[in-house]
């Protein structure tokens, strides 16, 4: 099946094209869209792409990180100032996938993909949506809740740089060193003195989209990061999740092992 490919210099023009043309899909890294094209998915009539350099731009300051949605995992790994995201980017496929897979594409990847999106959710990221009439900002959590409802083009993702080692990430796979997620967990654990304040925990592959573990976050508030302090959070770790049965793991298995891996992530390997 032949599809039409339209390439735009400006991201705004690409956004207009996908919002006005029926069957138009934006090509970011292509690791998922090209698979559908290869399978002759009849829903894909037009591929829209953009060569806008702003789409791939990465800007890092001491306080804030801005990732163009077209920035690849390889580009993130090449950026020394983004060390906090290196473990996450390295968890996305092998080197060839990382050269193509983008930040923006990961936000729309179906479960069990989307580990990077889970990390950005824990980091309380804001997305900027491109449109023919300008840009607007949205919390990533809101975007994930409505991402399947229509043509949306994310131009960039921003978040505040977390303090010290407050951000943690773990991906659980059955195939090593690289495999699809049984689940992934990202946690932002700010400490005031020795107490956790304002924790954000996000899961990948525990629902249709990456989602927050709000019950566990509440249970961690004011607690210390030790076995006794995190016990209430582990008890409610799976609350609000709705994992699927797939070839990687059953929903039951995902729920069973979630508290174990959350415990390991929160305590650190040396305390488990």
């Amino acid at each position: 099946m032949t599809v039409t490919v339209k390439t735009f210099d400006r991201l705004a023009d690409a956004a207009s094209a996908i919002s006005t043309e029926r069957g138009a899909h934006f090509l970011s890294g292509g690791t998922l869209l090209m698979r559908a094209v290869n399978e002759a998915d009849p829903a894909i009539k037009t591929i829209v792409r953009s060569t806008d350099p702003a789409f791939r731009h990465i800007a890092v300051s001491s306080a804030r990180v801005e990732l163009g949605a077209g920035a690849t995992m390889a580009a993130i790994l090449a950026e020394r100032e983004l060390a906090l995201l290196h473990q996450v980017a390295r968890a996305v496929g092998g080197p060839a996938v990382r050269e193509a897979a983008t930040v923006g594409g990961n936000l729309f990847a179906p479960s069990p993909y989307g580990d990077f999106a889970a990390a950005l959710l824990a980091l309380d990221a804001t997305v900027t949506l491109a449109g023919g009439y300008g840009e607007r900002e949205l919390q990533l959590e809101e975007l994930l809740g409505r991402r399947d409802r229509g043509a949306t083009l994310v131009s960039k993702v921003t978040f505040r740089r977390p303090p010290g080692d407050a951000f943690r990430f773990a991906k659980v796979t059955r195939v090593h060193p690289k495999g699809l997620s049984v689940l992934s967990i990202a946690a932002l654990l700010p400490l005031a003195s020795v107490r956790i304040t304002g924790a954000r925990i996000a899961y990948g592959a525990m629902g249709r989209t990456p989602l927050r573990a709000k019950a566990a976050e509440r249970a961690l508030e004011g607690r210390s990061l030790d076995a006794a302090g995190i016990a209430p959070a582990l008890a409610v770790a799976a609350d609000g999740t709705s994992p699927s049965d797939d070839a990687i793991a059953s929903a039951w298995w995902r729920r069973e092992i979630l508290p174990i891996h959350l415990r390991r992530l929160l305590l650190g390997a040396d305390q488990v």
């Binding site: 390439t7 292509g30 090209m34 094209v37 290869n38 092998g94 996938v97 193509a100 060193p177």
Partner: protein
């Protein structure tokens, strides 16, 4: 509608036409005629179609061919150095790193991408470099040994 595509393929300029939405793998095999690139899954999963685009490893089956127009593309067909095999090819033979051989083109190109950037890789580097390439025959160990050996021999030659 056909789209004109120009590539620098293994050091030579190549011009062809591709169907809209065609992937790089199909264009290389069926339009250009480079049959050294293998297709396994057409899903970006198995890695056998790995080629280098501007020196970086890419899965040709999920790469829009048109997005590579004007770029350099390297395949196994370009690995030989004159009459000699590439050190990686020799090492793969010496270490029995190919059994059915289907994954071999992708493994070789993934390994070349690694050694071009990191001539002295650790075992961990090698494992990471080929972690997106599936081999169902060898158990990977002969492939890892071959890549490490090729790196050692290339380093000795360059010294």
């Amino acid at each position: 509608m056909k789209t004109p595509i120009q590539l620098r393929l293994n050091g030579e300029d190549v011009a062809t036409f591709a169907d809209g939405g065609a992937n790089l793998l199909d264009v290389l095999r069926y339009s250009v005629g480079d049959l050294t690139v293998k297709g396994g899954c057409w899903q970006g999963t198995c890695g056998t179609c790995t080629v280098l685009v501007d020196g970086a490893p890419r899965l040709a089956c999920v790469t829009l061919a048109e997005s590579c127009s004007g770029n350099s593309v390297e395949t196994v067909a370009g690995l030989r150095r004159g009459a000699d095999l590439h050190p990686l090819q020799t090492a793969f033979m010496e270490h029995f790193a190919a059994q059915c051989g289907y994954c071999t083109p992708g493994m070789l190109m993934a390994a070349k991408a690694l050694l071009d950037r990191n001539p002295n890789p650790t075992r961990e580097d090698v494992v990471d470099a080929i972690c997106g390439n599936i081999c169902r025959c060898t158990g990977y160990e002969p492939i890892i040994a071959a890549i490490l050996d090729a790196a050692r021999k290339d380093a000795r030659r360059s010294a």
